[in-house]
Assembly symmetry: C2
Homo-oligomer: 292 residues x 2
């Protein structure tokens, strides 16, 4: 697939380094971003980069979307100067849209059904690994879609991530990411309660976290966030705003599938509180602030 | 302290191997258990073991208690043929009681205050590591008490555990263990929701758990329990009954300290359901059964 052209829409903190990695891996990339300067910044004077002034101009046979959520992806497809118009104008019969944002597994599956009726194939392929993983090309990619489509995207995914998993039909990638976020949100909220109890009880928090990290309470989150709990510095990181959105997907999936999501709802309510009090951009571990 | 005699009350699945390790480390141990045959089984024909027929007969200057919960410890101290009567009869002026069960941090602190008025010192030193850790002498020990008392117990703790932490005054050990159990219970409940969503959504659970284990959702619990989720075998392990008790301590501590414990309450309610439906003895990861 190297040498072929890919459209890439959405050049935010995740999308920009991902697009750069595709250019670095030998793909021609047509770049579109709502704020055009970001597309120009990624393109620089790279010989294989093209800056598209409308989404329609980025309507290549394969288009990767890394936008905040599904409504933004739908808009980029459906707007008058959008991808669908572009594919039609360019005579692309069976375009493949790769949604790499974290989106609702229920909604993306329904939308994929509508798109398929018009000949547009969709693969959902949310990622984990954050901005660091995007820059290093070491993302974990959770893909859902038809076997042939996911296979076709192999070289694209290899340029972006280290671990690529095909988990089932369209929606399976997003449902897996949702499961991941349910565990992350729930674990952070249990940690928040434990940290707040330890502090309010006058314990040496560093010693407590050390003990917890040596046993059954150990987790990647405890390791990654211990410094934040000890210093109270919750700037940068994975935003509470994003965690809230992802937990809503978990609750919606639970409702559809008949699974109780009480733990996820407690976490969701707290991230809503964080957003309401103006802490939407703090790291998701900052939820410890709303348990005291 | 080797060569000195220790009283040991409570020779259940944890207490029996712990008492054996004390004998192995060179201590003389006076063993008492409600069911006397268990004390005899630990003693065997060990030259340094004595079987006590009442708690009073095990009333050495240092007594380790490994009973289910604080009410049982209080009973063993206060009953007519209990430790207090035994200490008085033996002329032990300032006995040291080491409570190694997981007990309420609030209740143990209050009781220690009452005991101190009568010259009885208390160290709370709950453990983690389970039956395997008890047998191998590799428990993590979380101690709360006066510096001198915890220092005196150094050789005892070294015979029982690998990691010994003195976390503060009486109650600090139990509060730390409570924090540990809040994280364990909350994480297991988040995992339960994710596992149930993945299964109900038709995903390949093994692939999903593998993806989760490679990122921010990774935890010791995910590693330890993955096989149980995949096979549905929840026999043996750490009982739901015990997890329920420990989460009640977390909720009580939160109430006393002004910390919200919504995540812990969701977990507590589910373990109560497990007990109510007759699954009290299943491993605590079996809580996945009450989210669908």
């Amino acid at each position: 697939m190297q040498g072929t052209t890919i459209g890439f829409v959405g050049l935010g903190p995740m999308g920009a380094p991902m697009a750069r990695n595709l250019l670095g891996a030998g793909f021609d990339v047509a770049l579109w971003n709502r704020t055009a300067s970001k597309a120009q910044a990624v393109a620089g004077d790279h010989p294989r980069a093209t800056v598209a002034t409308t989404p329609a101009e980025a309507a290549r046979p394969v288009v990767v979307a890394m936008l905040p959520d599904l409504p933004q992806v739908r808009d980029v497809v459906e707007r008058a100067d959008g991808l669908r118009a572009g594919w039609r104008a360019a005579g692309v019969d069976d375009p493949l849209l790769v949604v790499m944002s974290t989106v609702s597994p229920v909604a993306v599956r329904e939308w994929a059904r509508d798109l398929a009726a018009d000949g547009v194939r969709l693969v959902d392929a949310p990622v984990s690994g954050g901005v660091e993983g995007a820059a290093a090309g070491t993302l974990s990619i959770m893909a859902g879609g038809a076997d042939a489509d996911v296979a076709l995207l192999g070289p694209v995914f290899d340029a972006l991530g280290r671990t690529v998993r095909h988990l089932g039909p369209v929606g399976a990638g997003s449902l897996t990411k949702t499961c991941n976020q349910v565990v992350v949100g729930g674990t952070l909220n249990a940690l928040a309660e434990a940290v707040a109890i330890a502090e309010a009880g006058g314990l040496d928090l560093e010693a407590v976290l050390d003990v917890l990290g040596g046993g059954l309470a150990a987790s990647q989150l405890l390791t990654d966030k211990a410094r934040r709990y000890l210093t109270g510095d919750f700037t940068h990181g994975a935003a509470c705003r994003t965690q809230l959105k992802d937990l809503e997907f978990g609750i919606a999936a639970g409702r559809e599938l008949g699974v109780a999501t009480g733990a996820t709802e407690v976490a969701r309510d707290r991230y809503q509180q964080m957003v309401d009090r103006g802490d939407a951009e703090l790291d998701h571990s900052a939820v410890v602030r709303v348990v005291v």
